[in-house]
Amino acid sequence: MADELAIVGKSLTKPDAFAKVSGQTRFADDLALPRMLFGRILRSPHPHARIVGVDTSRARALPGVLAVLTGDDLPIKFGILPVSQDEEALAREKVRYVGDPVAAVAATDEWIADEALDLIEVEFTQLPPIMSIEQAIAADAEPIHGASNVHKAVALEFGDTDEAMRAAQHVREDVVFFEGNTHLPMEQHAALAQYGADGKLTLWTSSQTPHYVHRALGKVLELPMSRIRVIATPNGGGFGGKSDIFSHELVAARLAIVTGRPVKITLTREEVFYAHRGRHPVLMRVKTGLTRDGRITAMQFRSFLDGGGYGSYGVASTYYTGALQATTYAIPRYRFEALRVFTNKPPCGPKRGHGTPQPRFALETHFDKVAEELGLDPVELRLRNLPRPDSRTVNWLRITSCGLEACINKVVEGSGFLERRRSMPRGRGLGFAVSSYLSGAGTAIYWNDMPHSEVQLKLDRNGGVALLCGAIDIGQGSDHILAAIVAEVLGVALEDIQLTTADTDLTPIDLGSYSSRVTFMAGNAAKAAAEKVRAQLFEAVARALPCDVDDLVARDRRIVRRNRPEEGVSFTQAVQLVEAGGGVVTATGSYTPPKLAGPYKGSGVGPSPAYSFSAAVVEVDCDVSTGEVRVPEVWIAHDIGRAINPVLVEGQVEGSVYMALGEALMEEQTFRLGLHKFPSLLEYKSPTALEAPVMHTYLVETIDREGPFGAKEAGQGPLLPVIPAVANAVYNALGVRIDEIPITPDKVLKAMADRSKRVGPASTPAFEFPPLIKAEIPEEWKGK
């Protein structure tokens, strides 16, 4: 009994819940300081132009304006990836999208700041805008950066795919397109900077990655990082959209330094659309060879990413479009070619699922078609190609636990997919798809050998436990996960844990709330710290009782003998015993993922200490007269490893399904004459409460051997199968293939009217990829 879990696995109320429901949570824009100024940023009205001159004299003369900045005030370039240091806080020579920051002001109120922006005169020479992949790679294209619009080109091969294709009994090829879309967090980004009389800069910011913001501030402001403190405020939604370094963070800091007063910049909703870093538009070609009975023998995959005006996470995004094909299917031979180009749009980056929803759409619709050609049901095709637990993929990704088969069975049985899909009335359909995702990127954004997550615990002689960690809660519940793990190990209550998070002065490093890494990595660090401090407690208690250390357990705020629970001391007494013996009772724990990268260039993107798996069945109800697609019901199963808090995991799964349905059916970030078509919450369509389907969520527990208490990720993976499942359901309902996301009514009507019964791209652009890097393949795949 003593080893039963008391907190982990229970749907408890998270520590920050009551602050959130009472309006007490302080988001970045809720902060105000005495003498605070308001900052605003002037942005480019042109998609592509040279800056000839900036005249700020009239703005400076406006009463109430305390500072005006232009690019020359912040000349050092930055970027989230060391290989893409291509951004300026305020553009100096060129603007690269409508919304690119050009100048900034600080004033005593927002109206004066706005007025001052109108008084800044910028002279531009317009350049031809590059608004598509085809335009970007055209021979006579105006380069957006340097000499070419090719940002990254990748060509990798694992085994001889051409030979395997020739030997395949069945080969199919498809071309599909996934339009870009954005995160749309309800909270607009905001940052508040204060420069103290002691020369210390503090920045409060709505950021998923305060550690990287800290590094960028040090670089751009040329201040020692010890003189900069970054505090991430709880994020009012992130979804990847607050995991970059943003102009307004650097500008607020510089304005605070220049004026000697606190400066806050809160983006307007329109500016949030320009800050973007969202889903890349990706054009894809997938070709698979199979045996007659539906076993994959080879895959060749090509992706073309429309990156927008800057690099951002783009190099990683590019690799991610190819990395996880082989964690979802057992693929013996694999070729991956990818191209990311610059265009004159807001920069794309990581949105929930980072670079993988697009290929997932490609593969899952492709295999739906393959199954039909082979006379197999789509479920059987997946079951014949399952990745195996404790294996390595042909591109060297190490899979530990794998619950994909269990996920498939749950949704197939729950929905009655196999029986019902053959007898749906016209207009109604069922679609099925599967996916896998990382539990944290196995490599850091900047190369180093240090841990990815660290936790410090300090035990109070009155029984409280202070938990310090760099992780920031963005709504996913990371505060709860950390507190629950520590409370479980120490045998105390959740409310005994006091959290201090995401403060670079106080908390040890966590790399950030991105890549579904916090539960796995910070969770493991928290567990390690708690186990260390528990060992100190046990040692002191064992001496005091006396008894054997191995005989002790911690539970119900007591440390007692396992089989004689009446013999023991309270948790508080145990802390006091340790403190009496050696002072402050503290311990640290850290987590460094195992080195899992394969023996080839580009192997750093894709490895993760564990992968989650998901399967979905989606039911659609299509209006054959309007083309509108509604989703009344969704069945989703997710291999979570272990649910540390099931209600929070369900929330992540349901939120992922919701976001996926928005992307599948309505959300798109598109442009006309260089201008964003819908930079507002009204026109950028996203699902409301009325569109919420009935959802059946199944959590599959595989107890991963390296996850904290066996846990894996939940925040991103469950989004992935839903989008292609919608597309497959539309085919089941209407017999049309919409090979282009989003599946809007106009496309459905067009496909129904067209003889091809399809809407989608016909081909991919002619582009000469670099010579293939032919990687060694793991032993287990040789000869297969």
Partner: protein, 162 residues
């Protein structure tokens, strides 16, 4: 604008009379957040598109980003800070906390107040009535399900005890 052009605004917020001198073009949202320190009311667009700024005026949902304070003198304004009775949270607040209906928590104040107005009018709403009532408030985290369930849980528990 010059300070001399500010106007006196008297508002009744969460049962308390409050008076401030503000620029006459400031919205209720801005006055609540910036002049009265009630930052529980959030903003998502300031154009009346997302309802994140929702408060109650005389018990009915109201977009504070489109409301002018001078028009609301004498009316009863309720913000999220006014939902609890003393330190006793509203049953909706408890249900939202228990069921994980507040993920990032940013739309939560408006969602709670809109749900409060619904339950005051219809103490046992159907799922469809809940969807309809909350359809103007955008949430990007939850997929809305936990929110519907929390409203139903609060409804099943009845009005606040005190």
């Amino acid at each position: 604008m010059p300070i001399a052009d500010r106007v006196a605004v008297r508002l009744r917020v969460n049962g308390e009379e409050m008076a401030v001198m503000v620029a006459p073009y400031k919205t209720l949202l801005e006055v609540l957040r910036e002049d009265l320190g009630l930052t529980g009311t959030k903003h998502g667009c300031e154009l009346g598109e997302c309802s994140t700024c929702g408060v109650l005026v005389d018990g009915r949902p109201y977009l504070s980003c489109l409301a002018m304070p001078l028009d609301l003198e004498g009316r009863e304004i309720t913000t999220v800070e006014g939902m609890a009775h003393g330190s006793d949270p509203d049953p909706l607040q408890v249900a939202f906390a228990e069921l994980g209906a507040a993920q990032c928590g940013y739309c939560t104040p408006a969602m709670l107040l809109t749900a409060r107005a619904l339950l005051d009018r219809d103490p046992h709403p159907t799922r469809d009535a809940i969807k309809e009532a909350l359809s103007g408030v955008l949430c990007r985290c939850t997929g809305y399900l936990k929110i519907f369930e929390a409203v139903e849980l609060a409804a099943s528990r009845g009005r606040r005890h005190g």
